[in-house]
């Protein structure tokens, strides 16, 4: 053990500071990623300022489209908007079947979802240097250098493919479900 290593409270405080700064500061996050991958820190030329962080606005259209599909097939919005405390578990169970069957169909039809790790949960596995930190999250006793060996707690999910319906010009995605008026 190196005598100059910080103790646990120091490490915890650093981790929390780093956590927030990684979220807020993309340049810091970039450097942290390099450090974490075991790459040497780049030398920043004197006088160069870090660029301001740029966050993307995600397109709300496809989110609304997916929500509309979940409502159309699985009554998802109806379910969320209802006050479940007023009903018995049997009643909620009946409705949950509608939601589960329909939403599952939407997900199966439009998203190809696969586990990030194919090993069984509970299995021991080793992560080599340079693993994708976005796809595998380290938890617990996160110290030392890769390769890391640990237990797979959750396999993770990743979307391999997404195919949403194509929409006509002028289609209002904000209408998740039209009102129905029976004549």
């Amino acid at each position: 053990m190196n005598a100059s290593q910080p103790n646990f409270p120091t490490r915890l405080a650093l981790a929390l500071r780093a956590f927030w700064r990684i979220l807020a500061d993309s340049e810091f996050a970039r450097q942290a990623l390099r450090l974490e991958r075991g790459e040497s820190a780049p030398t920043v030329p004197v006088g160069e300022q870090p660029k301001p962080a740029v966050f993307r606005e995600t397109l709300s259209e496809s989110a609304l489209q997916l929500l509309a599909l979940l409502q159309q097939e699985g009554r998802f919005v109806d379910f969320l908007e209802e006050n479940v405390t007023a009903y018995s578990d049997t009643e909620i169970g009946g409705a949950a079947r509608v939601v589960h069957e329909g939403c599952r169909k939407v997900v199966r039809d439009h998203l190809q979802i696969e586990p990030v790790r194919t090993e069984a949960e509970g299995a021991r596995l080793t992560l080599a240097a340079g693993f994708d930190a976005a796809a595998v999250r380290l938890t617990g006793n996160v110290v030392g250098q890769p390769p890391f060996t640990g237990t797979l707690m959750h396999r993770g999910w990743r979307v391999a493919q997404i195919t949403l319906p194509k929409l006509a010009e002028g289609h209002d995605v904000r209408v998740l479900a039209p009102a129905e008026v029976e004549l």
Binding site: Q65, F79, E82, Y87, E91, P165, H171
Partner: protein, 613 residues
């Protein structure tokens, strides 16, 4: 044959359409480049998705119901109607504007198939369509979908194989071909669906099929789709040392399919809900039918499951409060489906039929007996002599056999996804065989129950070019016209009718029958009708044969046919003696012509002539 890049198979089904293709340039012998073509369609107003199947539904919206943009198809059209998934969904809420089962209407002999009669229940302001137009709408959509995928190889320039039920009569076949030709599919042949299913089995076995059947086999194809039950018998023979397939018989047209079964279950469950005081509207009944179909497949697929919950979602946004919950039990499925549609019966069982009420509402002539097994027993018994004259089959059937003994069976259609229905059918069939000391049938595996017909049809387009085994057989009926016999008239009695054979059994595509020696009189300028008959068992009648009497189960009366001789150059009212000539076109439809004694002219005889009924 044209210089097509693809052979395209189209299954124009009662409930779904499927399209498949074979790349002719990339295929060699048993190595066939074949796939199903996805069909873009509206799945919600303004939303288009690719789906493997096109539901055969046509919705005729009110002008205020959908904005033009909401009807936009990927190829830029905004037709005033909707086909496919969205049509089905909208029809569930507004059934009066939904056209369904157009195919069953297309072969309904009691209606004028060119008249705008659908939807039957539509109010007057809805502009109705004819069964023929509805079929054209589906084919137009499939053509546009194809052209979207393959803009350099438009469908009108490909070899198209369109499937029809084996039991389709000449009029229904001609109407199907007419619908296809009206949307520009000129390079067209028709193929019977059970044959398409067998072609798919051959394709899927990749050459190994020759090891799975042997000379002397009789393959029974049972095709149970959403709306129809279709039987065919195909014999395995030998010619010049290689195996050959001959379709020896097809069954009657039976309007009975998976939809009837799901509906039967839904009604049983609805009765249960009604006891609890819950009334369902049509939309909820549709939801219930859907739920019952899923529950049925679970119950019939897993013997360990005793009950499956079925829920009917509420109409309003209160999902939890309004959802009805019940369950489907194994006992209910067994009683309603297995015993109702596939009962244990003897080989001597026959479908029951009751006389129809004189004034029936305009509707489809659904089978009156829901028991598939009884229809099957009747078919095999009627066809007991189907292989009698086939070389190599003379001694196959033991003396005294009461029905034709199949040796192998191929199942097709979504109904058989419920494995226990397939098993029950096999058990019943094997029971009949055991009773006559015949070995049990072999199950031909490897079917693709939903997509096989379209895939097999595309493969047929390929083998037609001489690159694989073809099923021979030709027409599965001999045809007759009714002529009044020359006996003296007895007051108060209709003159007895005789049947004159004009087309023999087994006419191949692109062949002509001989001219019968007998002449009939046509009146110039007036439509003249003939009674028209078909027989699926009289295999040896030749053209010109005259039957004075026949057993009722031997010959079936079809719709009347009609000939009109134009008055040009002749005296109206004059009687011209003509002979009736039959041919089977390259497309696969029967064509009848009136040929006068002199002059080169011939006049087409029309099949679909009701109109005033």
């Amino acid at each position: 044959m044209i210089d097509a890049r693809y052979a395209v198979g189209i299954d124009l089904g009662t409930t779904h359409c499927v399209m498949a293709a074979v790349d002719l340039t990339a295929s060699d012998q048993d190595d066939v480049a074949q796939w199903t073509v996805s069909i873009p369609q509206l799945t919600a107003p303004g939303a288009v998705e690719d789906r493997p199947m096109l539901p055969s539904f046509l919705y005729l919206p009110h002008p205020d119901e959908l904005r033009p943009d909401d009807r936009t198809l990927p190829w830029g059209e905004q037709p005033p109607f909707v086909v496919g998934e969205l049509a089905r969904a909208m029809g569930g809420r507004t059934p009066i504007r939904l056209v369904s089962s157009a195919k069953s209407w297309l072969c309904h002999p009691g209606v004028d198939r060119r008249a705008a009669i659908l939807p039957v229940e539509a109010p007057d302001e809805v502009e109705r369509v004819s069964p023929l137009q509805a079929s054209m709408r589906y084919l137009e959509h499939l053509r546009a979908a194809w052209d979207q995928h393959y803009p350099d190889a438009p469908l009108t320039e490909q070899d198209v194989v369109l499937t029809v039920p084996a039991s389709f009569d000449p009029a229904a076949r001609e109407l199907t071909a007419e619908a296809a030709e009206a949307v520009g599919l000129g390079h067209l042949v028709l193929l019977e669906e059970p044959q398409a299913a067998l072609y798919h089995w051959i394709l899927a076995a990749r050459g190994e099929w020759r090891k799975q059947v042997r000379v002397g086999d009789i393959i029974l194809v049972i095709d149970l789709g959403g709306g129809t039950a279709d039987f065919s018998l195909i014999a395995v023979t030998e010619r010049d040392g290689s195996l050959e397939l001959v379709r020896v018989a097809v069954g009657d047209h039976i309007l009975l399919g998976g939809d009837n079964m799901d509906l039967a279950l839904a009604h049983a469950v609805r009765a249960k809900l009604a006891e609890q005081g819950a009334q369902l509207d049509p939309w909820q009944l549709q939801g219930l039918t859907h739920g019952c179909r899923n529950a049925k497949e679970i119950l019939l697929g897993d013997a360990a499951v005793e009950t499956v919950p079925v829920v009917v979602p509420s109409r309003g946004s209160k999902l939890i409060g309004g959802t009805l919950r019940t369950e489907l039990t194994r006992d209910e499925v067994t009683r309603n489906l297995v015993e109702g549609f596939f009962p244990w019966v003897d080989a001597s069982a026959r479908p029951t039929s009751r006389a129809r009420a004189a004034l029936t509402k305009l509707g489809l002539p659904y089978a009156q007996d829901p028991a598939m097994t009884r229809h099957l027993a009747a078919f095999l018994a009627r066809q007991v002599g189907a292989t009698r004259d086939l070389a190599g089959f003379e001694d196959r059937l033991p003396e005294g056999a009461s029905f034709l003994h199949p040796t192998a069976v191929l199942f097709n259609g979504g109904v058989f996804k419920a494995r226990s229905l397939l098993d029950r059918t096999l058990e019943v069939l094997n029971g009949w065989l055991a009773a006559e000391h015949a070995p049990p049938v072999r199950l031909l595996e490897g079917a693709d129950l939903d997509l096989a017909v379209a895939r097999g049809a595309a493969y047929y387009g390929y083998v037609r070019r001489g690159r694989g085994v073809r099923i021979r057989g030709g027409t599965a009926k001999s045809y007759y016209v009714g002529v009044e016999s020359a006996t003296p008239a007895v007051p108060g009695m209709e003159p007895p009718i005789e049947a004159l054979c004009i087309a023999p059994f087994g006419m191949e595509e692109g062949t002509q029958a001989q001219l019968p020696p007998q002449e009939v009189g046509l009146v110039i300028g007036e439509p003249v009708r003939f009674r028209f008959f078909g027989s699926s068992v009289r295999r040896t009648d030749h053209v010109g044969a005259v039957l004075e009497e026949w057993a009722p189960e031997e010959i079936e009366e079809l719709e009347e046919i009609e000939a009109t001789l134009p008055a040009e150059g002749r005296q109206p009212g004059e009687v011209v003696p003509v002979r009736l000539h039959a041919a089977v076109t390259e497309v696969g439809t029967l064509r009848l012509e009136a040929v006068p004694r002199t002059g080169g002219e011939t006049w087409k005889i029309e099949f679909d002539v009701r109109g005033e009924s």
